[in-house]
Amino acid sequence: MAALDATRTRDGVDAQTLRTVEAMAGKYKHGWETDIETEFAPKGLNEDIVRLISEKNGEPAWLLDWRLAAFRRWQQMEEPTWAMVHYPAIDYQDQYYYARPKALSRKPRSLDEVDPRLLATYAKLGIPLREQMILAGVEGAEGAPAAARKVAVDAVFDSVSVGTTFKEELRRAGVIFCAISEAVREHPELVRKYLGSVVPPTDNFFATLNSAVFSDGSFVYVPPGVRCPMELSTYFRINAENTGQFERTLIVADRGAYVSYLEGCTAPRRDTHQLHAAVVEIVALDDAEVKYATVQNWYPGDEEGRGGIYNFVTKRADCRGARSKVMWTQVETGSAITWKYPSCILRGDDSQGEFYSIAIANNAQQADTGTKMIHLGRNTRSRIVSKGISAGRAQNTYRGLVSVHPRAAGSRNYTQCDSLLIGNRCGAHTVPYIEVRNSSSRVEHEATTSKVDEDQLFYCRSRGMSEEEAVALVVNGFCREVLQALPMEFAMEAQSLVAISLEGSVG
């Protein structure tokens, strides 16, 4: 395939680029490409491609019909333009909608069979796929067990989930954690019941596109009353050039269940824009609790805004049951364009939604992100804490909706959006929508915009810190409330990401 040749040629370029980048130190750390043969479907999008994806995944007829219905609907839809992001028109016919590492044409039976280069890729990323992940700082930390914390990782390499660890232990607890393609085969009744029930295939342009062409993703089901024995983690990478990544994640927490899910994203550096349109659906039944944390540091493009990921994501949780709770935490430091609004539909009485976000945009990055809290049930509560940081020529927008319906008596929302500007060529914007339709609810919103405090910087400098260290420290302090909401494993990585993302933004 010509594309493969192109990939090899590009490798040489990338290696050279990488050396240059490394020499500059502190630039995008994950900018390399793994040399693995990749199997592409032809470029472009039509019904045949949708059928091919379905066939490659060995899907039943109902799912193919579901995809085709979404695809037909998508053709009628218009790309949304309301976000404060500007990018050249995307040619949806100039993308690959399916790519899988060739080594995986036959699924490995154990991790030993996984292509060692693939495992090396993850090692470079700093996520051991092997049995345990013990992270510095966890031991002895408040509330954490002294024993090693365990994290099950379902790594997604391009479009196919390559390996799931800890399967056995999870199986004993009754937790299903697998690739969604596998779940379609093994647990069709669950997938069929919940897939598209939170983000319907007709939801929005990007979600509908995802519904038509999603290739893989993760599926989690926690049975009633079960507390998932470990943090679940998935790791996305976009590797093959011009491959749109269309992940579909479905998490179902049955009555009284608890699960914490971590998602991390990195992608190698690239010169052409790449499209990513993921969908995450969460269902929480009575008394269930789901925590979903994301650290996203996809390639943001270079200083001039060339390259970088276009990240159009639909994430939504349905707090269907009474007293259910969903907590979204995100650290968004990557991508050229971020378009992402993790939301909670608070349907069950006394249900709770929380959203903690750090969005950092540097150089030419554009981020338009926020949340929606839809209060439908009585005495529902939501809390939004958003920290936006803009540097370079970046534009960073918080866009959120708090809607309290007439039936949602006694509901409560608190929203805090703070923006920090570093330099006078960037922008920070806040676009909250507040809709309150009953009087027994209370909604509060506050937002501030300011620059990095000169006095704090001066103090840090006077104690011998470099300007960049000082900025990183002040910014980490600004983000503290959100960093504290992250699982310990991510909090450490997130802090260093905050510092790395802002390098070159001062001076």
Partner: protein
């Protein structure tokens, strides 16, 4: 953000309304009207699908005929602002009534009407008429203002060269059931000059007004507006202002009742050290829809802006606030503040808000807050425990809630007038 071209139906609606455009007039006026016509055709009339009309249905403001509204009952209270002894200029159904007005003579203020100035080839208003309105079309499109610029045949033209010794009161009255009023006023405050403009209505079954104000360096403009009070009419009122260096603009609006009121404001702080305070108190009981759509644009460095909007809503009343602080890259040292609050007195009322910040300068201090809720039960309990009857306690808490907005009125006489009106409204609507 660039606005997409008008949808065909919105453009058609605009074309048919524009058919009533006045002919003739001096070259400056013809040019301004033609430009407004082009602006409007590019936008079309507003519809529910427009971003800034998602909370307010513009149908009654865009329809070919004004929805009928009975003229209000004869004024049962004191003449508004009588204590301030203003120079009164009266418009009845949009037509100037010289008999009811005071002689238009006031030291330091040149008073003219658009209808009189229209035939002239040259007029000072040529640099102002439609000019701030045109700039105020971004980032929030205001098609009804462009419609007014294209169609309005009359209005006041005030040129203030000194410190006006007493306020000018624009008194609007409605006589006919279907009157469709469109006035366009222009006010130029020369450097260092000062004027207080008082407005009271209602002025028609439907009013689509534009007020353009240019406050020169060091000048001051105070604006106190009274809307509603048993008013069945629909209102779309626009304030467009440019504030020069070290100049000040302070505007306050009290809206009491009315089925549909849309108050739009666009204020640009164009000179260093300028100040703009906009405040509003809205009181609605039953069929009441009140919308404040405000943009404060900081163009020059070191300016201060403040927006304080409060709404008290009961029996299914709806309040809308859409406000934006827009800080351009060169407007360093900006101090921007915005607060929008609603008190919902029963289950049926609603508050819809979109308080925005759009900021491109880093050395700024901008904040906004918005709260919605019922009367604080703890405060109510405290007052009742001190022997205050429930209705009185609620009235006190409502007045306390509105106080921050009323405090924005600098003149104590005017503030007292407004407080008395608020108190009377709360008393009439308590229980």
């Amino acid at each position: 953000m660039a606005r997409p071209d008008a949808r065909p139906d919105a453009r058609h609606a605009a074309e048919s309304r524009l058919a009533a455009a006045p002919a003739g007039g001096g070259a400056w006026l013809r040019a301004a009207r033609e430009a407004a016509r082009e602006r409007l055709l590019a936008m079309g009339l507003p519809g529910r699908r427009d971003e800034y009309w998602r909370y307010t249905d513009p149908a009654d403001l865009t329809s070919a005929e004004a929805p009928a509204a009975a003229p209000p009952r004869a004024a049962d209270g004191a003449e508004p602002f009588a204590a301030a002894e203003p120079l009164r200029l009266v418009f009845v159904d949009g037509l100037f009534d010289p008999a009811a007005s005071d002689p238009p003579e006031l030291a330091g203020v040149q008073i003219e009407r658009l209808a009189e100035a229209a035939p002239r080839d040259l007029h000072w208003a040529r640099d102002l008429f439609g000019a701030i309105e045109a700039r105020g079309q971004t980032p929030v499109p205001r098609p009804l203002a462009a419609l007014n610029t294209a169609l309005a045949a009359d209005g006041l033209l005030l040129r203030v060269s000194g410190r006006a010794e007493r306020p000018v009161a624009l008194v609007r009255r409605q006589a006919a059931e279907g009157s469709d009023v469109m006035l366009h006023h222009c006010i130029r405050i020369e450097p260092g000059a000062e004027l207080t403009l008082l407005e009271s209505g209602p002025g028609g079954a439907r009013t689509t007004d534009v007020l353009e104000v240019d406050v020169g360096d060091g000048g001051r403009f105070h604006h106190v507006r009274l809307q509603g009070r048993d008013h069945g009419g629909r209102v779309a009122a626009h304030l467009f202002a440019r504030v020069g260096a070290a100049a000040q603009l302070r505007a306050f609006t009290l809206t009491a009742d009315g089925p549909l009121t849309r108050n739009e404001a666009y204020v640009e702080l164009a000179g260093a050290g300028g100040l703009a305070h906009l405040a509003g108190a809205a009181l609605g009981d039953g069929a009441f829809h009140h919308d404040d759509t405000v943009v404060l644009r900081h163009i020059a460095p070191g300016c201060e802006s403040r927006q304080v909007f409060k709404k008290v809503l009961k029996n299914g009343a709806a309040g809308v606030f859409q406000g934006k602080i827009h800080v351009l890259a060169q407007a360093q040292k900006t101090d921007g503040y915005q607060i929008a609050q609603a008190l919902l007195l029963d289950e049926a009322s609603q508050f819809l808000a979109k308080p925005e910040l759009e900021i491109y300068a880093d050395d700024v201090k901008c904040s906004h807050g918005s709260t919605v809720g019922a009367i604080d039960p703890v405060a109510l309990y405290y007052l009742r425990s001190r022997g205050v009857p429930r209705a009185r306690a609620e009235a006190l808490l409502v007045q306390a809630f509105l106080a921050e907005a009323v405090d924005e009125i600098a003149d104590p006489t005017l503030a007292e007038d407004i407080r008395a009106r608020l108190e009377a409204w709360v008393a009439r609507h308590s229980g």
